[in-house]
């Protein structure tokens, strides 16, 4: 009787630990093969055949299609440069320079990866439609209320993610540092 109980306990612990760890890694992701530049994180290997098992599990669980390496690379940010989570009620400024690429897009998603509804039907910017300063630099204001210049509406949601995608770019599996890929800064400039 005691042996049976102990075996059951061991199996229960095994199930909880094993599936719990799988759930954690599949929802939160792992640091395997990540490229972090400032607040931005990319996993260039997810676009190749040697994608790691953890990324594969996350991709199939979320039902997404990773961007192929010959196509481009995607960077995600959920915090600003000071590690403060991106808050849709605050004013966040994305500015600076971008890595070499034929095109880039910046898109705002909620935590499930869906676009956020707004009256402008503005879900992101492409490198072509952005209003730039005289020096070629740009500044995108991510805020819930309308702002001058490049305004990206948040719809006032509490947490969101920014995705910066580079298309036809040398940035990829071989990229290691900020010098290879100068990414724009993200700064929270004011909260109500």
């Amino acid at each position: 009787m005691r042996l049976l109980l102990i075996t059951l306990l061991a199996l229960l612990v095994a199930t909880v630990v094993g599936l719990g760890a799988t759930w954690m890694t599949a929802t939160r992701g792992t640091d395997l093969g990540t490229l972090t530049i400032g607040a931005w994180t990319a996993r260039p290997k997810t676009g190749t055949s040697d994608v790691d098992p953890y990324s594969r599990a996350t991709i199939t669980r979320n039902g997404e299609l990773p961007i192929g390496t010959g196509d481009g690379v995607a960077f995600t940010a959920t915090t600003d440069d000071r590690k403060k989570p991106l808050d849709g009620r605050c004013d966040v400024v994305v500015s600076g320079v971008t890595p070499a690429a034929r095109f880039w897009t910046l898109t705002l998603y909620d935590q499930k990866g869906h676009l956020v509804a707004n009256t402008l039907q503005r879900y992101g910017f492409t490198s072509q439609e952005i209003v730039r300063g005289a020096d070629g630099g740009f500044e995108i204001r991510v805020a819930s209320r309308s702002r001058a210049g490049n305004w990206l509406p948040t719809g006032g949601i509490e947490r969101y993610a920014l995705m910066f995608r580079l298309y036809d770019t040398p940035v990829g599996v071989a990229t290691r540092t900020q010098r290879d890929a100068p990414m724009p800064q993200i700064a929270t400039v004011g909260c109500p």
Binding site: I6, L9, A10, L11, V13, A14, T15, V16, V17, G18, L19, G20, A21, T22, T25, A26, T46, G47, T48, S49, V51, P53, Y54, R56, A57, I59, T60, R61, G63, E64, L65, I67, G68, T69, G70, D71, G72, A74, R102, F103, T105, T107, Y109, K112, G113, H114, L115, V116, A117, Q121, Y123, G124, T126, S127, Q128, E129, M163, R165, Y167, D168
Partner: protein
């Protein structure tokens, strides 16, 4: 007490095995993966345009709204697939995924270097069976080997401004993805019966 400690240690070790097995098995057992989500929306061995990305359309997460997207869901068991995609004005790319969403190949308009991207998709076995025709060299025809018999080809055309979206969609509408016509009729018939 010691026995209980051993039990927990054994449980944690076994848990590690459960974790590894479940991570490796997840891509196979997932029912909500991109391929399954796209299956009801797309035709087999044909190009289907996806509806434009907007907040009410939640088929797949993290879709880039600046792109017109079309999908060719393929099954190579009836023979190789021929893919023809005219290049749009801004940027066009093709990404190839296996049944389990491994992105095994991607190409864009510039690396293809032509006004119309033309390529043949086949399994490795079909590639090996190709007659070695001296007139058809590798340069004339781009041949891609698919690791699995089924999978997805995602065709994307960029609309640099929202107003250019109809143009991007039009260029994808002109693309085609079909079984090669020069295949023996018997082979081509088999998958059609299943539909």
């Amino acid at each position: 007490m010691i026995r209980l400690l051993f039990t927990i240690i054994a449980g944690v070790l076994l848990g590690g095995v459960v974790h590894l097995v479940s991570v490796l098995a997840l891509p196979r057992i997932a029912t909500q993966d991109a391929y399954s989500r796209l299956t009801p929306l797309t035709k087999l061995n044909a190009v289907t345009q996806l509806p434009p990305a907007d907040p009410s359309n939640t088929v797949m997460p993290f879709v880039d709204p600046a792109f017109a997207v079309a999908v060719c869901r393929y099954d190579l068991s009836g023979g190789p697939i021929k893919l023809t995609v005219p290049v749009s004005q801004a940027y066009t790319s093709l990404s190839f995924y296996t049944r389990n969403e491994v992105a095994y190949y991607a190409i864009n308009d510039r690396s293809a270097g032509k006004k119309v991207i033309e390529l043949d998709l086949m399994t490795e076995a079909q590639h090996n069976d190709l007659p070695e025709d001296e007139e058809i060299t590798a340069a004339d025809r781009l041949i891609i080997d698919s690791p699995t018999a089924t999978g997805l080809i995602v065709l994307k055309a960029l609309a640099p401004e929202p107003g250019l979206m109809p143009q991007a969609q039009a260029s994808l509408a002109a693309s085609s993805c079909a079984e090669q016509a020069d295949q023996p009729a018997k082979q081509a018939e088999a998958p059609r019966g299943k539909r």
